[in-house]
Amino acid sequence: MAVLSPVIAIALTVFTGFFIFLAVGVDPFEALYVYFVEPLTQWWTVQELLVKAVPIILIAIGLSLCYRSNTWNIGAEGQLVAGAIAGSVFPVLVPEWNGPLVLPVMLLMGIAGGMLYAAIPALLKTRFGTNEILTSLMLVYVAQLFVDWLARGPWRNPEGHNFPDSRPFDGWQVLPVIVGDDVRINAIFVLIAVVVAWFVLKRTLTGFQISVLGQAPRAAAFAGFSQKRMVLLTFLISGGLAGLAGICEVAGPIGMLRTTVSPGYGFTAIIVAFLGRLNPVGILFAGLLLALSYMGGEGVQIALNISDQITRVFQGLLLFFVLTCDTFIFYRLRFVPARSAPRAAGEVSHGSA
C-alpha cells in the first residue's frame, strides 16, 4: 500500500481533472492529452521539463530530511530567493570579475545565503519554541519583497532602459549547459543529492537519528539524540539546497536577477516531498511528474485558452489526494452491519441456565 498510495493519488487527480475540464467547457480527453502527454512528445519540451524538475527535486530532497524528523520547513521558497540574492552579489556588483572561479564562488555564496536565511526560523524554534511553520512561511514574503526592491532599485541594470532587472550575467558567470540546449549542470547536482540523501538516510547515524526523532521522540531522547540539534541541522541542509537551487535558476535559465526568481518551486517542492513519500528516489520521480504539471499548464493555456492557474489546481488536488491515500496505508475501510438480533452458536435450548 505504501507504494500504491501515490499511484492511486495520481489516478484520482487525473480523474478529478477530467471533470474540471468538462466543467470549464473543453473536451476533457483532449485537455488531458495536452496537459499530461503532449509535453513528453518533443525533445525541446522534454528539456524544458527537466529544467523545471531540477530545482524542485533539489529542494524537495532537503525538505524530506526536515519532514522525516518532524521539522516543518515551509519557507524553502524564501530560502531559494535568499540564495539567489547572495549568489548574485559578485556578478551584479563586480561584473568585471569574469573567470573560472566566479561560478563556484557564486554557488557557494548561494548555498550560504540559503543556509543563513533558514537559520532564522531554526534558531527561533530552538531558542524560543516559536512555531517554525509560521516563521519560515512569513519569511518567504520578506525575501520576495526584498528581491523585488533590489532588482528595481539599487541592483537595477543602469544600461537596461529602466527595466527592473539586473545586468545580465556573462561568460563564466552563467551556469553551463551540458545536454541539448537547456539542461545545465545543476542536473548533476540533483543526481548527486539524490544518491547522497539515500545513503545518509539508509546507512548513517544521522539518517538514523532523523528517523527516530520523527517516529518516537521519547525513544530519541532515550537514545541521546537532540531534537534541537536536528532542527538546526535539517533547516541548514534544506536551506542550503534551496539556496543552491535559487542561484542556479538565476545563473542559468533566467540569466540575471529579476524581480521574481521562481514560479513557486519552493512550494511545489513540498508536494513533491510528500508525493515521493519522503524517499529520495520517490522524490526524483515525483519531481518529474510535477514538472510535467507545469508544462501542461502552459500547454493548455496556449492550445485551449484555459488559465495556467489550472496548474495550481492540479498540484493542490495532488497534495490533497496523496495525504488522503496515505491514511489508507495504516487503516482499512470496512463496512460493518449493525447487529439487530442475537445470534446463537448452534442449537441453544432456551430456558436452561
Binding site: R203, A223, G224
Partner: protein
Amino acid sequence: MDAQTESEGGRQSGRLGGEPTLSAHGITKDFGVLRANDNVDFSIMPGEIHALLGENGAGKSTLVKILYGALQPTAGEIRWKSSPVVIPNPAAARRLGIGMVFQHFSLFDALTVAENIALALANAGAMGQLKERITKVSAEYGLPLNPDSIIADLSVGERQRVEIVRCLLQEPRLIIMDEPTSVLTPQEADDLFVTLKRLASEGCSVLYISHRLEEVRAICHHATILRHGKVVAECDPQQETAARLASLMVGAEVRELTPPEPVSETAPVRLSVKGLSNPKPHPFAVALDNISLEVRGGEIVSIAGVAGNGQDEFFDVLSGEARAAQGSIAIDGVDCRRSGVNARRRLNAAFVPEERLGHGAVPRFRLSENVVLTRHGTREGLVRSGVVNFAGGRAIVGRVTEAFDVRKGAPDPEASALSGGNLQKFVVGREYDRKPGVFVVSQPTWGVDAGAATTIRQALVDLARAGSAVLVISQDLDEILEISDRVAVISHGRLSTPRDAREITRAEIGLLMTGISGDGQGGKVAH
C-alpha cells in the same frame, strides 16, 4: 433469591444460588485469524464476587469489552436475568445495570468530582442535587468524597473512588472492576474490599479481574480461569492455593526463582544519589525532593510506590534524559550529573524504561535497529565513521534471542510485531547483553506473561550475583519482596530510607506510600 450467609465469618460451600444476573453462552470473538475468545460460557450470580483470572493475552479484556458493549461477539449469546440481550454500546450496558471501573481512569484532572461525574451520567439533573447525591452515596459506601474537590488534587485511591461512585449512582446490578488494586496502597485495598463486600451483601454482583491471587482468594466467591481464549477451569478460590491457581492460568508448573544471595557490607557502592531535587517539568508532574540512595555491587534495591509519585521523573534523571537542578549522581564513583544518557552508558550503566513501545524501542523499527538505538554510543563498533553497522545489530539480536528465549517469528521483525512479554525480554536482554555494572529498570514485568516475568526476574538476580548494582522501580509488591535485598518507597517525590526486604512488612510499606517525612520515615497516619 436465596438468603445470603453473613458477609464476614462463615463461608458457604458451593455457589450462591438463584437466577444468574448475567450469563454468557458460547461467546466467541475473532479478530481476523486471531480467536480472542473461544466458546466461553460463564455466569455470575447475584451478590457474588466473581474473579476472572488469566494471563495477559488470555482474552479477559476482550470478554469484558463484550459484556460492556464496547465490542460485539462474533458468535454467542448474553443473557441478563435469563433473557437474551444484545448490548450494542456502553450506554446500553449502563441502562441494563452494568457498571465498569476501568484500570486506567477517564477523569479530567482540571475539573471537579461533581463535574466529572456529571459528564458520565445520561441524566445528571441539577448540579446541586447531584452534589448531594454524591456526598450521600459516597459516604454510605465508605468512600467519602467532596464533590467540589479538583481531581488533580486527589490521590489515586481517591480518584478510583470517584470512578466507583460514578458507577454506583447509576444503581448497577453488576460492577466490573479491572485490576482495581494495582494503583492502591495495601490499606486502600483493604478499604476497597470492605466496600465490595458491602455491595455483594446487597445483591449487587462484582466481576473482579486481577492478577493478585492472594486478594482473589481473600474476597472472591468464585473464579473463572481463561487461557488462550477458552475457559479452562472454574473453582472456589478459597479452596485452592495461589500456586494451583497460577498453574491453572499458565497451564504448567510455574518456575521457581533461584533466590538472591545476601550482600556483603564491604561491596563497593556503584550507584550513588545524593540530595537529588528537581522541580516539576510540567504542571501535572511530580517534583523530586531531596532523594538520596546508594546501591552496592551485588545487591538489588527496589523502589516501591503507587504510580504517579515521581517514578518517571526519577528514572529520567537517573538515565540522563533530564538534568536534576540540585544534587549529585555518581556511577562507580564518577560524577555524572552533567553527563547525557550515552556518557552514562559508557560508564557501563544500562537503563530499561517503563514504556517499551515508544520509549524503550521504536515500534516500527526492526529489532536490529532498536539495538542500535541504545548501543550506538557505547564504542562497540555499531557505528564506524558515521556509518551504522546493522549486521552487528543483527548479531546482537541473535544473541539476545537465544539467551532470553525471545519468540519473534521472523529473524528481524519490527518491535511492534512482538508480544508484550517477548518485547520486554528483548529490551531487558539488549541491555543485559552488555553486562552493565549498574542496571536501572522501571516496571520490569508490567503486562508480561508469567513465563517471561520469571525469565526477566531471574536475569536481574543473576546480574546482581555477578556483582552489578541493580535498581528496580516497581508497583508490584510481590515482585519486589521476591527479589530485593533492600526496599525503599517513593511517595510524592520523596524517597524513604531503604530497609532490609526481609524485615519490612507490607503494612509498613503501605504506610510509607501515603507519605514520607523529611527524615525518610512514614509521616502520615493511615486512614
